[in-house]
Structure formats: C-alpha cells, structure tokens
C-alpha cells in the first residue's frame, strides 16, 4: 500500500513519539519543530498522534460497510415484500454501487487530508467539504423514504384486518 495507508502509519506514530500534544491548542503537527529528528519521510508520518485522520477514514469505511451489508441483506429481504422482481436487484445494486462510491470517495478524502496536514506547517488546513456527506445523507434519506413506502405499501396490500 502507498504511504498514507492507516495501518502503515501506526509504526511511524510510535517511532516519532510526540509529547505534549494538548487538546484544542493550535499546536503544530509532529515533526515540524523537531529539526534533526531523523530521516523519516514526513509524508509517511501521521499528522496527529491520536491518528484522527486515520480514525476518520476508518469511520467512512465502517459506514460504507454498513451500506454494503444493508444492500446485501435487502437482496434477501426485499423479495419477501416486493416479490421476485427486477426492483429488488435494482435497489440492491444501487446500494452496492453507493457503498463502493463511498469507499472510493473516502479514500481520496483521506489522502487529501493527510497530504494537506503533513505538508503544511499548520494544523488548520482546508480539509473536509460537504459534498460526500451530503450525498451520503441524501442517499440514506432516500432509502428511508423507500423503506417507509415499502412498509406502508405492504400493510395496505396485505389488507390487514
């Protein structure tokens, strides 16, 4: 894996040994003020000993995984409500595609965060951005509306009484 892979960075974090990295203070990332701290490639060192960018990347992966698992379970469960039709496969396929898109988007996001934070002298780089979050929130909302329609439609269709 190229440098920037979270698992790879753990070893470097232990080696750099930054102390006094307080909460909330505008402190510079590890290694910048150390001068002569060694020939470690700066782009391979984590910005933050708490590994927040890496934890965030993993949170994105967990979310993509939840989307993927939900889609695959939907593949099993939806036929019970919708019958064995193309709609089930379309919905599940959409969910799988979305989870892959989230994985790819999250990977690019992490690479950008890591690059910006390790290359600058400040821990206030323009990271983030609301496009991917908005897309994920919208997708989840749409899934919810669809689920609502499913539950209500199933109830009406079954002619409860």
């Amino acid at each position: 894996m190229p440098s920037g892979d979270p698992a790879h960075l753990g070893r470097d974090a232990a080696r750099v040994g930054c102390g006094g990295h307080g909460r909330g203070g505008a402190q510079v990332g590890c290694g910048v003020s150390e001068g002569g701290a060694g020939r470690v490639d700066r782009s391979a060192r984590p910005f933050d000993p708490g590994l927040q960018p890496e934890r965030t990347a993993l949170a994105w992966r967990r979310t993509a995984l939840a989307l993927l698992v939900g889609s695959l379970v939907g593949l099993r469960v939806l036929p019970l409500l919708l019958g064995d039709g193309g709609v089930t496969y379309a919905v599940a396929g959409l969910g799988v595609a979305a989870s892959v898109a989230v994985l790819v988007g999250a990977h690019r996001r992490y690479r950008r965060v890591h690059r910006l934070l390790t290359s600058g002298a400040s821990d206030r780089a323009p990271i983030g951005g609301g496009l991917l979050p908005a897309a994920v929130a919208l997708l989840t909302f749409a899934a919810g509306v669809a689920a609502l329609a499913l539950a209500l439609g199933g109830a009406v269709g079954a002619g409860r009484g």
């Binding site: 909330g24 505008a26 910005f47 933050d48 708490g50 927040q52 960018p53 934890r55 965030t56 949170a59 994105w60 967990r62 979310t63 939840a66 989307l67 939900g70 379970v73 939907g74 469960v77 939806l78 019970l80 409500l81 965060v113 934070l117 821990d123 206030r124 780089a125 323009p126 990271i127 983030g128 951005g129 609301g130 496009l131 979050p133 908005a134 994920v136 929130a137 919208l138 989840t140 909302f141 899934a143 919810g144 509306v145 689920a147 609502l148 499913l150 539950a151 209500l152 199933g154 109830a155 409860r160």
Partner: protein
C-alpha cells in the same frame, strides 16, 4: 489555490478550525448515518421477516423505527453543517436537536415490539 467547498453557508464564513475538530465532526456525522441505517434495517426486518408477532403492533413498531430512520440523516447533515459553522466561527457547538425524538422513538418501538410479542 483551494477549491471552493460545499456548502458556502458553512465554508463561506469564519476561518479554518483545528483539523482535529473537523475530523471529529465528520465522525459524528458518520455515526448518525450508521444509526439511521440500523433503524431502517430494523424497521424493514420487522415487516419483511414474517415474525409471529401481533401484526398491528408490529407494523406500528416498524413504522416508528423507519420514521426515526428517516429523521436521522436529517440530524446527521444539519448537525454536521451547524457544528462545522460553529467551529469556523469559534462559537459554542449546537446540540443535536433530533437526538431526543429519535431516542424516544427507539424506546416506543421497543415497547411496541414487547407488546407485540406478548400479545402474539
């Protein structure tokens, strides 16, 4: 040159906060999204799996969970945007306004399922 980030209501104001706060805000957003997915999965499963529960109560529980699951991504997005804005402006963070209703919904759904089991 930095690319303009969406939305401008967030990134057009204030200044860059400590990256760690931004990342923590992002993880909070993702936690809400996973909560939403879990609520939706629970609500759909209740209706789809043909469990031997009292059908009216089961449907009610399912709808409560799904409605909560629809509200949760709303909390996720607006919570993220408002928090990011507050971080940029150095203002106190907003509370999660939909947390209480969503929590109540989960309790209500649980009671409904319990009743549906008992009255099956």
């Amino acid at each position: 040159m930095t690319a303009r980030r969406f939305p401008s209501s967030v990134y057009g104001v204030g200044s860059e906060p400590d990256a760690r706060f931004t990342l923590a805000n992002e993880r909070t957003f993702l936690a809400w999204i996973r909560t939403a997915l879990a609520l939706l999965a629970g609500g759909v499963a209740l209706e789809a799996l043909g469990l031997g529960l009292e059908p009216h109560l089961r449907l009610a529980a399912s709808l409560v969970l799904i409605v909560a699951g629809v509200a949760t991504p709303v909390q996720a997005w607006f919570g993220w945007a408002q928090a990011e804005r507050a971080l940029r402006l150095g203002r106190p963070l907003p509370s999660a306004r939909l947390a209480l209703p969503i929590g109540v919904a989960v309790v209500v759904a649980g009671v409904l399922v319990l009743l549906a089991v008992v009255l099956a």
